[in-house]
């Protein structure tokens, strides 16, 4: 700390240049924060996808249905702890742009499978009492102003009622919250028994199964057994881990991780050049001063350390501002107005951002630091 005034003083010498460098670093980390949040939105659920959960879908494609009777057979397979099913409803609330997923499920079993969706027990009881009952995620409830007791009409685009109507009506009986920021709070769940009885056609069919295995280490073996169980049947299955399923689902949009890495690599490489050049220029201008410091007894390593500390400080200020600003702005909500089911800055990415700040600081200070280390005092003083 005793060297801080010296380091700070060096930064204050060219205030505008320091401010511009800090701003460019801050902008890069703000972008990093937003791209992280966008990835979290696209890869929704992947970070919290259960290691012990499998998704079982039709072997041909996700939109092909599976018999509901598979449930009992899956539950009997060795290594399976629990199984539930889900089906894509694909309805519209008032306008096509008001997208949120609607899924018919068996309430208690489904919530047991997904403990990350938290629903008050009284609301679960109410849901089990009311056949047209539905529970909705906090985010969708807030967005559309849904509250318990509301009757919500949903226009079916895939499913019609037995009477041929496209409008389905549900009664909101509960609002669930995510136990984790990565949990999707945009979904709308309603009862499968009501849906199955009320729909026109495809009765006794479901979209996919979610299976909890007893031992996550045996997930692959259990998935194989499930697929073997239904091999050579009219509806063969493909079982895979929930994480793999979600990743392949997210990759339908594109390899977001790769795209984001490519953008960030370009941004950080540019910042590295800008900040590195600024540091090198700053050190070149202070050759004489570094020579004087060495003359009065500052050793080579200390001279290098001061330059590295200076570049780390610039990176820390810029990166801190960028990450902090990103945190605040992202906390204020999704700028697209709800295009992403979740939109948050994952803690792991904040930590990675802090690591990047350190790497940037060290990388930009390395070459100028080495030149300070190697600077000959007599040569430096002759330049004054």
């Amino acid at each position: 700390m005793k060297f801080f005034p010296l380091i700070w003083g060096s930064l204050k010498r060219r205030k505008l240049r320091t401010a511009l460098t800090v701003s460019s670093i801050a902008a890069a980390f703000l972008l990093y924060g937003y791209l992280s949040a966008i990835r979290s939105g696209i890869e929704v659920g992947i970070p919290i996808a259960g290691q012990d959960r499998l998704i079982v879908r039709h072997k041909i494609s996700l939109i092909q249905l599976l018999p509901a009777s598979y449930l009992g057979r899956i539950e009997k397979i060795e290594g399976v702890k629990q199984a539930v099913h889900s089906t894509w409803f694909g309805g519209i609330y008032q306008d096509a742009k008001n997208f949120f997923p609607q899924i018919p499920v068996n309430p208690a079993d489904y919530l047991r499978m997904y403990p990350e969706f938290r629903l008050p027990p009284a609301q679960l009881e109410a849901w089990e009492r009311k056949r047209t009952g539905a529970v909705v995620g906090r985010k969708t409830a807030s967005k559309f102003g849904f509250k318990v007791g509301d009757r919500v009409p949903i226009q079916g685009t895939i499913w019609r009622t037995a009477g041929g109507a496209t409008t389905w009506e549900f009664d909101i009986v509960g609002i669930y919250e995510g136990a984790d920021p990565a949990a999707d709070e945009t979904q709308f769940f309603f009862r499968y028994d009501y849906f199955d009885e009320a729909r026109m056609g495809a009765r006794g069919q479901v979209g996919w199964y979610i299976v909890r295995v007893e031992d996550p280490a045996q997930s692959e073996a259990v998935a194989r057994k499930i697929d073997e169980e239904f091999a050579n049947s009219p509806a063969e299955t493909k079982a895979e881990s929930e994480k793999a399923f979600m990743q392949s689902f997210a990759k339908q949009v594109g390899d977001i991780g790769l795209i984001i890495k490519a953008i960030l690599s370009a941004v950080f490489f540019t910042i590295l050049l800008i900040a590195g050049n600024t540091m090198a220029q700053g050190v070149r201008e202070r050759t004489g001063e570094i020579g004087v410091l060495k003359a009065i007894g500052f050793c080579n390593r200390l001279a290098m350390g001061l330059v590295l500390a200076e570049s780390l400080l610039v990176a820390a200020i810029g990166g801190g501002i960028g990450l902090g600003l990103a945190w605040v702005l992202i906390s204020m909500g999704d700028p697209t107005g709800g295009a992403f089911p979740v939109f948050y800055f994952p803690i792991s990415d904040v930590v990675m951002g802090a690591v990047l700040v350190c790497i940037l600081g060290l990388a930009t200070g390395l070459l100028p630091g080495l030149s300070a280390l190697r600077l000959q005092v007599a040569t430096a003083l002759r330049r004054l």
Binding site: P5, K12, L384
Partner: protein, 229 residues
């Protein structure tokens, strides 16, 4: 009792640029007594500053030996030489060489950052050094807020704050007007006479050298004349 502080024997320094070798000092012998105020004069390129740098351990001789007190400067490793400089040498430069972003007090504190002194002790030492040079009223001023003479006083305070064995001054009045130069010379004289500091001053100016107790002339890397003032 041997009162010699600096003993230089057969000192040579050559600079090499490509295949061209330029001798700057050739077989020089010099002794500086403890408590002496020695002026080193000579034309440009005579090797004055090179000799000062070699005595101060900022450069290494091509041949010969330099002893300061009990230490053989040319035998010290780079890191030992740096530590030795911090302990034994105070430099005063022609253009003051203060850190522009630090106040006078912080500039004087710089050499003390290398010690184990606490913040308050460092401040106290720096204030004392600035008091010796008569700048207690300018503690918080930055170099650009000080006159040339005042900046050089700060430079001298920085040089003496660690109580070094030897003060090496390279043209300390070279950038000052006569009045300010006289004040600086008076200050160096006072440090020599009242506080017993050994001072080696490089200068072109006969008026400045007249304040020294002994004058040594260098020409083409050799001692050509010696006089007691």
């Amino acid at each position: 009792m041997n009162d010699s502080l600096v003993r230089i024997e057969n000192l040579s320094k050559e600079f090499q640029r490509g295949s061209e070798v330029t001798p700057v000092l050739a077989g020089l012998r010099l002794e500086i007594r403890r408590g002496e105020f020695l002026a080193l004069m000579g034309p440009s390129g005579s090797g004055k500053s090179t000799l000062l740098n070699l005595i101060g351990g900022l450069d290494r001789p091509t041949r010969g030996s330099i002893a300061v007190g009990e230490d053989r400067v040319e035998t010290l490793s780079d890191s030992a030489l740096t530590a030795w400089r911090a302990r034994h040498i105070g430099f005063v430069f022609q253009f003051y060489n203060l850190m522009p972003s630090l106040s006078a007090l912080k500039n004087v504190e710089l050499p003390l950052l290398l010690t184990h002194l606490s913040s308050s002790q460092r401040r106290k030492h720096a204030e004392t050094a600035l008091e010796i040079v008569g700048l207690t009223h300018r503690l918080k001023h930055y170099p650009h807020q000080l006159s040339g003479g005042e900046q050089q006083r700060v430079g001298i305070a920085r040089a003496i704050v660690t109580d070094p064995t030897l003060l090496l001054c390279d043209e300390p009045t070279g950038d000052l007007d006569r009045k300010s130069g006289d004040e600086i010379l008076g200050l160096l004289e006072g440090l020599n006479r009242q506080q017993g500091k050994t001072v080696l001053m490089v200068t072109h100016d006969p008026h400045a050298s007249a304040r020294a107790s002994r004058i040594v002339h260098l020409d083409k890397g050799r001692l050509v004349q010696e006089a007691v003032s």
